[in-house]
Amino acid sequence: MPEALLVSIYVFVLALFVGVEVITKVPQILHTPLMSGSNAISGITIVGALLIAGRVESPLSVVLGVFAVVQAMINVVGGFLVTDRMLQMFKKKQDGGPA
């Protein structure tokens, strides 16, 4: 097995454990923002998409890359913004004004 792959597998498995530890502590009340927020994090694929769109190796790769950037950006921007919109609504005390 190539060493790079082995390291990648290490990283993946350890990150899984961290994920389980952290996520199980999220209370049920926040499960929807958890989904949209973690969703935004999965938009990290933007990193790969940027590289493909920026390398300009062939017209096809640019097209694929730009589509990937668009999709990943929707995922990232939409995800973080909508999560923020939800989380700002969770208040400990009623503040009187309509939401």
Partner: protein
């Protein structure tokens, strides 16, 4: 080197951000930390030496950000399940495209592990994309919410899956075949559609959670293909999150994941054996009588369900609760884990209506309270308050943990009609001696209740 370190910092920020989601008080800052991590990762990538041209990148970033921002700003809180579904889908789609490009970029000399990662990325990403879009379509009711079944459905899907594996294997072993990769992608997209179509609308909390997990895994496999640890770590985090939510949802419905995915629950109404409505009549109540019952109670527990979301009644619920609290009534909200169409759906709607979160009670915490409660007010919830889940082994939902609404001194159920809920099961709660039905649209009835209470 600097790029790599930035990725490490970004991944750490994601973890710290998720950790802050453990309390509503710190959650918003956690989300900001995550966003900061993402910004850092993007900026670090933009200075990467491989990037030759920024023009197309900027076009993509602009289009995607604009579309994402508009979606996030305009989506209704009741439509959040669809929104998350669509975002999931785009995450999966991006992974597929990145993996496919990586395949095209390296016609020769690609190590086996990279090839495998690319194939898996295409598979998981494409299934996530099309599956999420179908799920969102079902939730938006562009596609029927019922489970769509046809003969040999499972056999067909199994054959398709085997075909995909075979084609994927062939692609790995052979030299460069862009055409075959395209075929593989199309087949995977088809598989995503066919896998989600037979799942009924009420099971969407599980499907959305599972697709959430897939979108993470797709990112992780893309990370393996690109040898990028930021993708691997983030993908693993999201994958774990989705799996945990999926398990919680399945447990809350007392069903196995396999049963949810392949069971075609809600394809047609179920005829229930055993004790049901035979000869018994549900008693209804007028708005005025309900107002008296609520207004003179000492304690009320509100149980919201999907019906509240459908009629957008969350603000009216809050208004009613305010009036009751002004009269000295203690008001709590009981939230079942699978109430609504995604995990935590009801909490978001009530938070939107400005209900303080300490009043939102999880099932385990609120169930002992019901027997000490004067009135349980059920708003558009059905299966999650059906006592048959506790008492009738013949019921399809037997064993599912429910809110013990029936133990309250009296129960008022707000419902459109006597039609059974999504699972198509009759609800014994409606025929209990201490239950009264308040028929009509939830929002409408709540408004009338508020008027009646004010007049008291």
């Amino acid at each position: 080197m600097i790029v790599e370190l930035s990725y490490l910092i970004a991944a750490s920020l994601f973890i710290l951000g998720l950790r802050r989601l453990s309390s509503p008080a710190t959650a918003r800052s956690g989300n900001l930390l995550g966003a900061a991590g993402m910004l850092l990762a993007v900026l670090a990538t933009l200075v990467h030496q491989d990037i030759l041209s920024y023009s197309w990148i900027l076009v993509g970033i602009f289009l995607g950000s604009a579309a994402g921002a508009v979606l996030a700003r305009t989506v209704k809180m009741t439509a959040m399940p669809q929104m998350v579904g669509i975002l999931n889908g785009f995450g999966g789609g991006a992974s597929t495209l990145v993996a496919a490009s990586e395949y095209l970029r390296t016609p020769t000399g690609r190590p086996v592990d990279v090839s495998v990662s690319i194939a898996l990325s295409v598979l998981i990403g494409a299934v996530t994309f099309s599956g999420s879009m179908v799920a969102a379509g079902k939730l938006q009711e562009l596609i029927t919410g019922r489970a769509v079944t046809y003969p040999l459905q499972k056999t067909g899907n199994a054959l398709l899956f085997l075909g995909i594996l075979a084609l994927g294997g062939y692609l790995l072993g052979s030299s460069f075949h862009p055409g075959w990769l395209m075929l593989l992608t199309v087949l995977c997209l088809l598989l995503g559609v066919l896998l989600v179509i037979p799942i009924g609308g009420a099971d969407m909390p599980v499907v959305i959670s599972l697709l959430n997990s897939y979108s993470g895994l797709a990112g992780a496999t893309t990370g393996f293909a690109l040898h990028n640890n930021a993708l691997i770590i983030s993908g693993a985090l999201v994958g774990a999150s989705g799996i945990i939510l999926t398990r919680i949802m399945c447990k809350a419905m007392n069903r196995s994941l396999a049963n949810v995915i392949f069971g075609a629950f809600g394809a047609r109404p179920v005829a229930v054996a055993g004790a049901t409505a035979d000869g018994r009549v549900a008693r209804d109540i007028t708005v005025e009588d309900a107002a008296v019952l609520l207004g003179y109670a000492r304690s009320v527990i509100v149980v919201p369900g999907y019906g509240m979301a459908v009629s957008q009644a969350q603000h009216n619920v809050r208004e009613l609760a305010d009036l009751l609290e002004a009269r000295g009534v203690d008001v709590k909200y009981a939230i079942h884990p699978v109430a609504g169409r995604m995990p935590g759906h009801m909490n978001v709607l009530l938070a939107e209506a400005n209900v303080p979160y300490p009043k939102l009670y999880e099932m385990e915490r609120v169930n002992p309270e019901f027997e000490r409660t004067d009135v349980a007010l059920v708003i558009g919830a059905n299966d999650v308050v059906n006592p048959a889940a506790r008492s009738n082994p013949a019921s399809p939902i037997y064993g599912m943990p429910i809110l013990d609404v029936d133990r309250a001194r009296s129960v008022v159920v707000m419902k459109r009609s006597m039609n059974p809920g999504f699972a198509g099961i009759d609800n014994e709660l409606f025929y209990q001696d201490n239950t009264r039905m308040l028929f009509g649209d939830a929002r409408d009835s709540l408004g009338k209740l508020a008027v009646a209470l004010k007049a008291m």
